[in-house]
Amino acid sequence: MSGKVFKYGDNVNTDVIIPARYLNDASKENLRAHAMEDIDPNFAKEVREGDFVVGGFNFGSGSSREHAPLALKAAGVRAIIAKSFARIFYRNAVNIGLYIVESPEMADEINKNDILTVENGILTDVTTGKSYPLPAMDDFVARILERGGLMEAAKQ
């Protein structure tokens, strides 16, 4: 399965990922419809299941609203690749089973609209032809992600 890249800069905060004016409704439909609205009004229209979001430093800074990673997950985003993540966003993404990849190299080299595939722990940028081994994760975090989130992992 391949996906297209939506690329943004540093400090993409949770207010632009899902503005507070939409936090009165936590339904997937509402979150999906307004994902990234204040940084990229076309995102919700253009994103397809399996696409990727690439950001710079401090991705997901600001509010603890889990609605932010939930909005990206509901929009079909397969993984977020960034130079670094704000810590609550990182936790929230892991806890809901949304893959996140911390890699300054990948975040620099992968371009907007590139097509990516992931197979056997290797991410390939089909557009540039370059492949990247996915960085190793803590076992604990990897286990939560494999099981689809914290609550699912806790059940097992």
């Binding site: 905060n13 207010d15 603890s64 810590r87 914290l150 059940k155």
Partner: protein, 420 residues
């Protein structure tokens, strides 16, 4: 290698003699907090799991973001939390009339104890570290997990030691100190780390410290920590908290700090964080340009909605009028602060100067309601974030400052600091 104060508190709650930075641990939490935005998502997760809260007395639910309910959808969110509190027998449930902005409310109610480990589904949960505990923001799934099990997973943080020296100038507050610090560190300068404060702490009142700790997250920090001293001891006692000797935690003498940052209070001037990052800090008397007109001033929030903030704003506004064309919105953070404003005559000062005074709410801080900005409008606010679109339209601008600066700006109609 010794432990930082934060690491010691994590070790205690993990039932361990010691922990080291970078380790993943599971720790017992003393309090789990949620609000009307984040709790419904956690409650939905709990319902899926089909289980009850492990210890209802360790759960605190505060309706504060969009209350009194701003619209039907918000009312539904509040109802979910209200029903859940009743079903689960949660006594620490605070609704309209006894509630307030959560991070002003919990210390006021004496729910914050030194050496505690407090988690909250709100990023500004880091506020409570001002009183010698570890507190940090989490998400809704975390909140659900902590309510179900009484535990949560943590990565033990590294730490930055912040050493204060010197004396604060007139009109310099905790807000200016923390903005100066965020300006030094940058918005991700302390990501995943603790900020532990030492040195000239007596220069900071308990309210100042709560303001400083509140904004630790704005440089990415996991938590802020102030050791308990006479100032915080007196505050805690006044709030009915019995401080036991074993709850006063200090770092080991050889604690492993990643680095030390020195902040000379003599050099801190009244500050403003310009759009659109809290680290974009400028100072009056240095590099705040003249003539930045404002349309609105907001005085309140978990950062600066306590009684000392109200007194500071009123001291500037007394006998003066809000500039024509400026809306000044004052929001005491809790009902206690609200009543104190009435009792002390501050509410009259605000109203006579042309401001409006609202019941407690987070409202405008996050662009919820009660003061949303139109296209291109500009606000000075005592809140904590000035991101793109934070208080309204994506083209609007938020300037973060102290209550002194926000009040003076409201009177003058442009960014301004009271003259010394």
């Amino acid at each position: 290698m010794g432990m930082t104060a934060t690491q010691k508190i994590f070790a205690r709650h993990a039932g361990r003699k010691s922990v080291a930075a970078g380790e993943l641990i599971t720790a017992d939490v003393d309090l789990v907090l949620g609000n009307d935005i984040t709790s419904p998502v956690a409650i939905a997760e709990m319902k899926k799991a089909g289980e009850r809260v492990l210890d209802p007395d360790k759960v605190v639910l505060v309706l504060d973001h969009f209350v009194p309910a701003k619209d039907i959808k918000s009312a539904e969110q509040c109802k979910i939390v209200r029903d859940f509190a009743r079903e689960q027998g949660i006594k620490h449930f605070y609704d309209v009339g006894c509630a307030g902005v959560e991070h002003a409310l919990l210390p006021e109610l004496g729910l914050v104890r030194p050496a505690a480990l407090i988690v909250g589904a709100d990023s500004h949960t880091c506020t409570y570290g001002a009183l010698g505990c570890v507190s940090t923001g989490i998400g809704s799934t975390d909140m659900a997990f902590a309510m179900l099990t009484g535990k949560l997973w943590f990565k033990v943080p590294r730490a930055i030691k912040v050493v204060l020296s010197g004396k604060k100038r007139r009109y310099v507050t905790g807000k200016d100190v923390v903005l100066a610090l965020i300006g030094m560190l940058g918005v991700d300068g302390a990501t995943y780390e603790s900020l532990e404060f030492f040195g000239a702490l007596s220069e900071l009142s308990a309210d100042d410290r709560l303001t400083v700790a509140n904004m630790a997250v704005e440089c990415g920090a996991k938590n802020a920590f102030f050791p308990v001293d006479d100032v915080s001891h007196a505050y805690l006692t006044s709030r009915g908290v019995q401080v036991r000797d074993e709850d006063i935690v200090l770092p080991d003498p050889d604690a492993d700090y990643e680095r030390t940052v020195h902040l000379d209070l003599d050099a801190v001037l009244p500050a403003v964080a310009f759009p659109h990052l809290p680290s974009n800090v400028r100072f009056f008397g240095k590099d705040v340009p003249n003539g930045i007109k404002i349309d609105q001033a907001v005085i309140g929030s978990c950062t600066n909605g306590r009684i000392s903030d109200m007194r500071a704003a009123a001291s500037v506004m007394k006998g003066r009028k809000v500039a024509k064309g400026v809306r000044c919105i004052v929001i005491p953070a809790t009902m206690e602060v609200y009543k104190q404003c009435l009792d002390e005559g501050l509410t009259s000062v605000f109203i006579e100067s042309g401001a409006v005074v609202s019941t407690p709410t987070c409202g405008p801080c996050l662009g919820g309601y009660m003061g949303i900005l139109a296209h291109g409008e500009r606000a000075v606010a005592t809140t904590n974030r000035n991101f793109v679109g934070r208080m309204g339209d994506v083209t609007s601008e938020v300037y973060l400052a102290s209550p002194y600066v926000a009040a003076e700006s409201a009177i003058r109609g442009e960014l301004a600091c009271p003259e010394v």
